[in-house]
Symmetry: C2
Subunit: 326 residues, 2 copies
């Protein structure tokens, strides 16, 4: 394969469990992409430099091509620890905290810092900030908005004047997996070998999921702890099947997250992430009477392009409303 003459930037979304590489052309358009399960906990041989060389090997990139990464690659367990930037922060503040390391080909890799919220207790993120910067850039009506990035550690993020001003973390995805796989709540489904929760890809949301969300919504105050054991008792009493009990558990956890989240006031959020999971959240938000919009999970690529622009690694980014006249 010949090197692509249009290459402008190598952009990496390098998290805990996976590494996604994007080769970007003029304006940030994706020319090539590749994904491997080489998250920072799973890099072959524990060698970040060799892992990067390996994922882009077929693209024959010149050492002069700028490269930028975000995510857990900048954590203490990553390639190089990049200190958190404090909120509030936008693309310029994030660019100001970038640290770079040497690539195997002699070029540099710029690593975007995560964000820290200096509250008591504090909160942190690494990677989500870049997706949000990208989402803000994509359309002009998101300069002041609430963003929700559902997942292992869901983030609720408040943006004001294009800068991240506050956020909250909910361990909803990780809680679901731990409760399903390692407590009595998941035993019926484990015994039935039906432990995987099907992603809700369409609007036919399982009734048991709705039941879980509404149980939390109608419990007066946030009462996940008081309702959790009902995942077991409803199965014992024959009121839920083993598989449905996991949908109900998912509804309880997502309902609790929505019920607790305070950072956005009464704003309807913009959802960023896996479409099936976003659909699940949209349904749950609707049960609380909250509207939302969903955007693709590739916003992180736009965010990396934006931050690279702030660093002068690529040509300045045009405003969405402007055309190219030169």
């Amino acid at each position: 394969m010949r090197p692509d003459q249009n290459s402008r930037l190598l952009a990496l979304d390098w998290g805990t469990s996976s590494l996604r590489a994007y080769l970007l052309g003029p304006g940030g358009v994706v020319l090539q992409s590749r994904s491997e399960p080489w998250g920072i906990m799973f890099t072959p041989g524990g060698d970040f430099s060799a892992t990067l060389a390996s994922i882009v090997e077929a693209w024959q990139l010149p050492p002069s091509l700028p490269a930028i990464a975000c995510g857990m690659v900048g954590s203490a367990q990553g390639w190089r620890e990049v200190p958190y930037r404090l909120c509030p922060a936008g693309a310029a503040e994030l660019a100001g905290g970038v640290v770079n390391v040497q690539r195997q080909d002699g070029g540099r890799l710029h690593i975007v810092p995560g964000l820290r919220l200096d509250t008591q207790p504090p909160d942190v993120m690494r990677g989500e900030e870049t997706a949000i910067i990208g989402t803000i850039a994509e359309t002009s009506d998101r300069a002041d908005a609430l963003f929700v990035l559902p997942g292992t550690h869901s983030k609720w993020v408040r943006v004001q004047d294009k800068r991240i001003t506050a956020f909250e973390t909910y361990m909803t995805g990780e809680m679901f997996a731990a409760l399903r796989d390692h407590t009595i709540l998941g035993r019926p489904a484990r015994d039935a070998q039906a432990g995987m929760l099907a992603p809700a890809e369409d609007n036919a949301m399982p009734a048991a999921f709705t039941r879980g969300v509404t149980a939390i919504r109608d419990s007066g105050k946030t009462r996940l702890s008081a309702l959790l054991f009902s995942v077991r008792t409803l199965v014992l009493m024959g009121q839920l099947s083993a598989q449905a009990s996991l949908e109900y558990l998912s509804g309880l956890l997502i309902g609790e997250e929505i019920s607790c989240a305070a950072v956005g006031g009464r704003l309807g959020p913009v959802l960023i992430g896996d479409p099936g999971l976003c659909n699940r959240y949209a349904h749950a938000l609707g049960l609380f009477g909250i509207g939302c919009t969903a955007v693709s999970e590739t916003a992180v690529v736009t965010g990396l392009w934006q931050i690279a622009g702030s660093l002068g690694l690529v040509e300045p980014v045009l405003e969405p409303s402007e055309g190219k006249h030169e």
Copy 2:
């Protein structure tokens, strides 16, 4: 060893993880006791009858000796499923639901039913009801009281006129173990090989535990979900050590349980269970301004004696204030 001529009742506390056998004399006094890790999930060979014969073998009991058991031995996964009794229920109602099975020696084993609360969602218990019946019998001032039995599945139980009228289950102990062993929250302690939480046997309660309880108490509404990730961020920011982070997590979970519990109104509870764990709960309750008293975990033996009395298996129980005059 010769059979004890004073034997009146064989009493078994047969739960999920352990089997405790007590040989009781006149008035329910404990003559002998033995404990084995032969809970219903771990009976040798899956044979309940042989397991019972094995644990009492040295005592050479006659087949005519009455025997009674409570706990998960009466569940669908136990020796014989004994249908739940509905609340409200006291010693007489529990005795009315007893089912018996044949022992290897030709005698019978009576199995006490669990209790079901017919709310939406429903709740259930098996074993705790017997400990509470015993605790009520031990002193005269517990006919109307709130009982808390901390553990894997903590129970908050309301007793009125010596009968259990309502209860709630909190999966606090199981949640703690799942979060410690199977999420990112326990990783620092796992890496430090310091994953065991020392039971708080004295009044020197770890400061991090207190911090967790008060964080929940002061969070306005019950906000465990919003605070859970702080177990990680406080370690990341160097504000908590790996070991202290588990104490903080324990404080969050127990604080949330206390914060959610509603069944007792404003009653100060009677704690029943492991002394170290009860001490932890007493400290947390104190931080909420709630007083409590603690009783030993052997109340279940008194409860089994009481129910056996209701069944006519042993001589009628004397009231605590009466002496023996015959």
